[in-house]
Amino acid sequence: MIYLDNSATTKQHPSVTRRMITCMEENYGNPSSLHRMGLEAEKAVKQARRELSDAAGMPGMQVCFTSGGTESDNMAIFGAAKAGRRQGRRIVTTAVEHPAVLECCQMLSGEGFDIVRIGVDRQGRLDLAQAEEAIDGDTILVTMMQVNNEVGTIFPVDEIARIIREKNAPALLHCDAVQSFGKIPLPAHADLIAVSGHKIHGPKGSGALLIRKGLHLPAFIRGGGQESGLRSGTENVPAIAGLGEAASLCAKDREQRMKKVSQMRNLLMKGLLEEVEEVRINSPEETGEEAGTCCGSLLSVSFLGTRGEVILHTLEQDGICVSTGSACSSNKKGRSHVLQAMGASDREIEGTIRFSLSQYNTEDEIIETIERTAEAVKRFRRLGSFR
């Protein structure tokens, strides 16, 4: 199996699994219990909180554990909107956000908030001039991703923080860092940062919202007052411990690891450009940590005149897992809003494949993937599908 769908989810690291098992089989107390079992469980949660905070490199932020990236985004956006509703009505976001952000903004739009979506160019790079124009004194929240999940483009989140300051806007800055955490440094000036466990070889159903200390958000889930009253409910101790472990692991030799991943990603890009005709790279070609470059783990490619879904299933037969640029090619509604916002044509969107790598891939796997993809595309083009 060659797994190149690490932006969808990742294989859980064995040491993560081991720590979770300990929490399930031995350290199974309720952190709120007064007895020793409770104390031990509380310690496991505290340890994970420290590990996540260290891995994020954000000593000035409080960690609130959640069920994952989507919940963190919901908590941040609805919380910020509620907290700031007397100071203004504008929320600024981008046209290429994950549905976890998109749908929250959509709902707030129905509640009278004025949602402004900043556009991107053909490589998915943010239009800063539009951002300058959009952010004003009425803006209470700016929410944007750090790395785009479909194409990998990095957004200048700290630059946005500067604009907010300059405009003297009351806005909080929320960053959806689900795809960037563990791969590039998190933005230094965001007020809220959403991260997820299962994208960094941690458990599914785990995640956190980092909240700048001193910032007060309204309770998201009410009840027993866990997570500083923000998110009640008995802590999911195994998932939290697993997230802590995964976060520590991904902070270790991050630069070196990403260098290796980028090299493989670049090899893949070069190989596909050489071996396949009529290819268009949707991601920025250059990888790095700077805004406007591409996160080293991601590569979005359009094989013109093909259907991504069929290429995907052909590669699946060869044991290669990738994903497409659209949920269902026969259905226009399923077409990627990200690629649409980037100005990609229907033909480009239809033939899009996303490769997302991890450090567990090898160069040999990449070489095989290049060969197999070239064959799959050739086979499709020979046959077509009449549409």
């Binding site: 052909t314 269902c328 026969s330 259905n331 046959l383 009449f386």
Partner: protein
Amino acid sequence: MENDKMNEEHIFIVRCGEVALKGMNKPYFERMLAERIRKLLKKFDEVQVYRHEGLIFVRADKSLDKQAIIREISKVFGVASISPAVECESTMEAIGEAAVQYMFEAIEERGVKTFKVEAKRADKNFPVKSPEIGRKIGAAVLKGCKVLRVDVHHPDCRLFVDVRHDKTYIYQDKIPGFGGLPLGTNGKGMSLLSGGIDSPVATWMMAKRGMLIEAVHFHSYPYTSERAQEKVEELASLVATYCGRFRMHVINLLPIQEQIVQNCPEEETTILVRRFMMRIAERLARETECGMLITGENLGQVASQTAEALVVTDASVSLPVMRPLIGLDKVDIMDLAKEIGTYEKSIEPYEDCCTVFLPKHPVTKPKLEKILASEAKLDCEGLIDAAVASDEIVNIYPA
């Protein structure tokens, strides 16, 4: 005391529909029907199914869910109607007592205010004649339940009293079944099952007439996804709740579609693929002792279902092709699909192999000679052999 005992059991009277008309075969049909009911009720413990005086009786422990049992019985083809009943001794006193108690419950559960007794006696030796039974039991009920009135025209409750040789049965509902004939009384057919709305309904309709089912499903992996096959299996399972466990042959058509696309005119693709499907289905049918093919085709619905196209399709096989939906409108088929419970699953969006190589302008009036000329460019027998050899069999169990 007698009535207390009868309350320990649910009793259902199941009436056979057309089965009763089948003359000499009657006992055979009834036996098949009882067998089928027994099989479907196997999941409940403590259920007894037996035939008695032209009816089928089902007795179940009172602890079991009455509605669930009715639901299962109503799925059995050949069942005309079901009546939950109470049983008592065939004496006027016992019947009167049981009727009063039955009406107490009807008042409590359904707020019945008016009623009418409809009595009949299967036992012609019973000393009281039917109209008189009605009058006497009606009087007993009026005396026992002061709140009730008789209304012979529009009663809230028609209280049926069925006097039989040993026992008498009292009931009010006749819950309709689907009718049809007991499964296994009418041969076996090979159904071409896709993930769409029509083919599950067509399969159901043939099964309803007593036909055993074997199915074949065609896909075009990797042009279609494994999820599409998953969907078809789930859909087939819904059909299996009526027609029982059956086998589904799964065939990848892509190698054939590739040859057609590369060698034949684009506009003929659909009809050519269709002919291959029929021939493969026919081969499988002969191997599995199916006497006919079943399709969900419907006159004029799509290009491959025009009168001309159906003629060309039929010419590819010698087994008869059953098309039970041929004269229905799409909305009628959809209504049926909803009634039998396959519609929701059918409309889930996954591509099937019919839509993969859909030409822009398919021929609607194909000529057999031209189609045969196109097929002459292909190694048809070789392709069909290979397809049949790659047959994967999936066992479909009731959902």
